[in-house]
Subunit: 167 residues, 2 copies
DNA sequence: TTATGATTAGTCAATATTGACTAGTCAGGA
DNA sequence: TCCTGACTAGTCAATATTGACTAATCATAA
């Protein structure tokens, strides 16, 4: 339900049309979740059916009409409940990079080292990018720092692994 | 393609029937990936169609016949390629817990602290469990250590967040 | 003015994923 | 022996997800 939580949380801040929501999520929230446009519409439709949000048409100038969504009191209640669940439960991240690592001894040591070295380069670039994000206000700042903390830990670990493989 | 990589990697070690594969993944690899039984069969069928593996029936005693899968040379080639890609590319983990955190200021400070405190308890339990896993051999040990490293970083960060919220 | 490419808003068919189910087998006790 | 509950192996309908597409509008530049 974390996607629903996200959509409700955004609609709670202001009414929005589907395209705007989906675009915001895909562009600015890529580090938390990946949720594509058709999925967003699917979930929005579902939440309309469940009565958590309402949908109405809105025309602006000559533009084609838009579906604007608004949260309902039932939606707000859901949001509150989902938020509490999400904050309480620690849901560990899945590291899909680990799958390859579990087979690393299939490769010759030199090749493995070369490939993991490339991974480290990519990781360092990610970390630099995350550190370069300007200070935000409020809770978003937490997420940015979380990302930095995680990438730093990842980098230290990868360094360790490279060292162990090398000698 | 990380699920295919995993299935091919396991079949590469020995022929297996679908149920065994799915059970192993669900029980022992839950920290890397979540892949349910029907998904495993779906992917196995797909890989048979693509010629990466073959399927044959095997009877054992009175038991119902099983579908046993075996990797083909084309499958081995795929495996090698997928493994190299997986080792090279750093694919950052998604933190779905962050979605809730981004809305944390919706709640009164005391309630947020209580909920996040519960999260910390759960996290500490996870960490203790991860540390208690006995030493494995080879690459599996890497994954266990990765998990510990990640959980430690997560715990430090949560501690930081709690401190900041509190004061 | 009109051609070109980018942006907007959403759709659709194809693919992926899963919860809940079935139908057989086995192990152990009454 | 027969019953019960657990295990084995897989299926199926329902749900979720996405790549690729459409069709309109807007920006700009020749």
């Amino acid at each position: 339900m974390e996607r629903e939580l996200l959509l409700l949380g955004l609609l709670r801040q202001m009414d929005m049309h589907g395209y705007r929501l989906a675009e915001f999520i895909e562009r600015d929230l890529a580090t938390c979740t990946d949720l594509k446009k058709p999925t967003a519409y699917f979930l929005l439709d579902k939440m309309v059916k469940q009565g958590w949000i309402t949908q109405h048409q809105a025309q602006e100038g000559n533009r084609p009409p838009r579906r604007v969504y608004r949260i309902t009191p039932e939606g707000e209640e859901q949001f509150q409940q989902l938020l509490r669940e999400n904050l309480t439960n620690h849901t560990p991240a899945k590291f899909i990079g680990d799958i390859g690592l579990s087979f690393v001894d299939v490769l010759a040591r030199d090749e493995a080292l070369t490939l993991l070295h490339q991974r480290r380069i990519a990781l360092e670039a990610d970390l630099a990018a995350a550190r370069a994000v300007p200070k935000h206000d409020g809770a978003w700042q937490l997420l940015i720092e979380h990302r930095v903390v995680h990438l730093e830990a990842e980098l230290r670990w990868l360094h360790e692994v490279l060292g162990r493989l090398a000698g």
